[in-house]
Chain length 365, copies 2
């Protein structure tokens, strides 16, 4: 991974308190904005990114050069219309695109590495709220996120209920299941099994645990796609050959695809960040934070909620979204829910989907 | 992994031809038997083992000391009754419990390692048929297997239709799907990313790619259990602690379980065998071997078939079993099919299940 280039960067004026009881000193949050902030500051939309996402929601990624990860959703005339809205997207703390994370310098001038405190989704949101404070934004028009971004949106709604008038949660969950944790644990063990990980102190070594990180990414990628989607996309088709090689090269297209996903990822992501962010997701359980009852997390909220799931998402299946909807109903919140049909599983929220566009556009109006 | 102790061992009298076009010289097959063979040799039941299984179906494993992997099913008075049947269970070629595999000596006296030829499920069965020839068993009373064992049972029925009167296939499939291949590819990449793998030449080094193999096993283990089963078994419960540690130890029971499964596995299994056997499974597609139509694979069979699936098995879901049943019906075969309800996903075929016992007992009568 190369050093992340400069984005807009906000230096938190005070130490960031963390759920662990520690505090993060000198934290910075890197962010991008799109569209003008209205004079009354009423048109701010905060977009929260997923595990391996970043602030480049609608602008080219500085390392890969690829278009923003939600360009189809965010821009002039798009469902989240930057002609009308001031869109903010910030890199979460713990990540590696300019916000404070394990690759950042600690007070002794060396990278934190595994000295970085373990953070939670609520800690990430605490950082985002500090950024909103810094930007003078009292209440968001909308907070929106898919996957881990949806966890942040729910956490904001639960813990800072006055800060968002609308909460849009896509392909997400209010808690990580045993299976979710299991997949992340495999990824972490793959990274930590790589000798180049060196207990996290690899930044000065000139090498990094790319092999382990690639395996982690490959395992995760399986969960992002549906079985049906994989079958439709790859089936048992061979890659650039007419017959099986009777060897261990990538004979099948699906093998080639996974290897490509794994190796491409290591160019843009820090392995220690992967450890910290997956840990934060595994710790995520909003009900647990609020006495064990999810409805209590949203008691008295005046925000409007929209919960969206995809029928082929087996990472955060529709049942998890329904669980959130039931809790919001029990809390007396205004909530709409839609399960969209899509062949591509969890990844569907990042892919072209006209009905999703319509749902987002209608809710953000 | 320690060297496998001696089992009964059969030295194939001729080179074993392989689907790759190569032949395996001097192959040996290690096997166990239980119960007496009838004088007319009509009571032989061949049990085919799964990916990481072995010949110790109903006797203690010589390395781990644990009971046989299907003790509850095989023995005096058990559903596969060794008072009546002569049960044969052989280690597949490619494995590491005494049958020829990558850890075996090649003709130059050094381990094959990655010089071992890539094999297929049909090659494994070719080895089993050679063993039956050696034992003088013309026709099996029943061939039975779960998971990869079921693949072998189907392959025997398709390619040597006269060799088994009854074919019992549990929690299996006639082809590996893109998702199945994807999980195996993650495991293989984890092994091959481990520097101790050393391109497979680790046998003389005193070390072995245990870290990579453990990660492979962990990833596979997720597929053996259902989401519901994982939730029931572990949920988000913490392991031996009252609160999250805000660290990277195994806070959750499911993490602890996976780590245990991963590290325990490396004591009894060879990493190269894991590569070869997963490859064989990924190559498995009976229809492809028979001109693209699964029914053609079973044309003219006179065997009776019983196909069993579990409703929570997402590795080889019921739809795959139905696919086999439809093909058998189209081929005019005698086939019964049952989907059993069980909470534990794919692993259910190894766990206590009274209805499975009854189905097996009734079919083998």
């Amino acid at each position: 991974m190369n050093a992340a280039p400069a984005s807009k960067s906000y230096a938190l004026p005070a130490p960031l308190p963390l759920d662990s009881g520690q505090a993060l000193e000198g934290a910075r949050i890197a962010y991008e904005t799109y569209g003008e902030l209205a004079e009354d500051r009423s048109n701010a939309v905060l977009i929260c990114h997923a595990l391996t996402g970043d602030q480049y929601v609608a602008s080219n990624h500085p390392i890969t050069g690829k278009p923003g990860w939600w360009e189809r959703m965010v821009g002039p005339g798009k469902p989240i219309d930057t002609d009308r809205f001031h869109v903010i997207c910030a890199n979460v703390i713990g990540s590696c695109m300019g916000s404070s994370g394990p690759a950042s310098e600690a007070s002794d001038g060396a990278p934190y590495a595994m000295r970085f405190p373990v953070i939670t989704i609520r800690d990430m949101v605490r950082g985002l709220v500090a950024l909103l404070d810094g930007l003078g934004i009292e209440q968001l028009h909308t907070v929106v996120g898919g996957s881990m971004g949806g966890m942040q949106a729910l956490s904001l709604a639960a813990n800072w209920p006055s800060r968002a008038a609308r909460v849009l949660v896509i392909a997400s969950t209010a808690r990580h299941s045993a299976q979710n944790i299991a997949f992340h644990e495999v990824g972490r063990q793959a990274i930590m099994a790589d000798p180049a990980w060196a207990d996290g102190d690899y930044y000065a070594s000139g090498s990094s645990p790319d092999n382990g990180l690639a395996v982690a990414r490959m395992a995760a990628h399986i969960t992002y796609l549906s079985e049906e989607g994989l079958t439709a996309k790859f089936g048992r088709r061979l890659q650039d050959r007419d017959a099986k090689s009777f060897g261990f090269d990538a004979d099948f297209q699906v093998e080639s695809y996974l290897r490509y996903q794994g190796s491409g990822f290591t160019q843009r992501f820090d392995a220690n960040s992967y450890l910290y962010i997956t840990r934060a997701m595994d710790y995520f359980d909003i009900a647990e934070e609020h006495g064990g009852k999810l409805a209590d997390a949203f008691a008295g909220t005046s925000a409007r909620f929209c919960i969206v799931s995809f029928d082929t998402d087996w990472l955060y299946p529709t049942s998890e979204s329904r669980h959130v909807v039931h809790a919001l109903n029990a809390a007396g919140a205004k909530v709409s829910f839609v399960e969209l049909s899509a062949p591509n599983g969890h990844d569907s929220f990042l892919l072209p989907h006209e009905e999703l566009d319509r749902v987002v556009k209608a809710f953000v109006e």
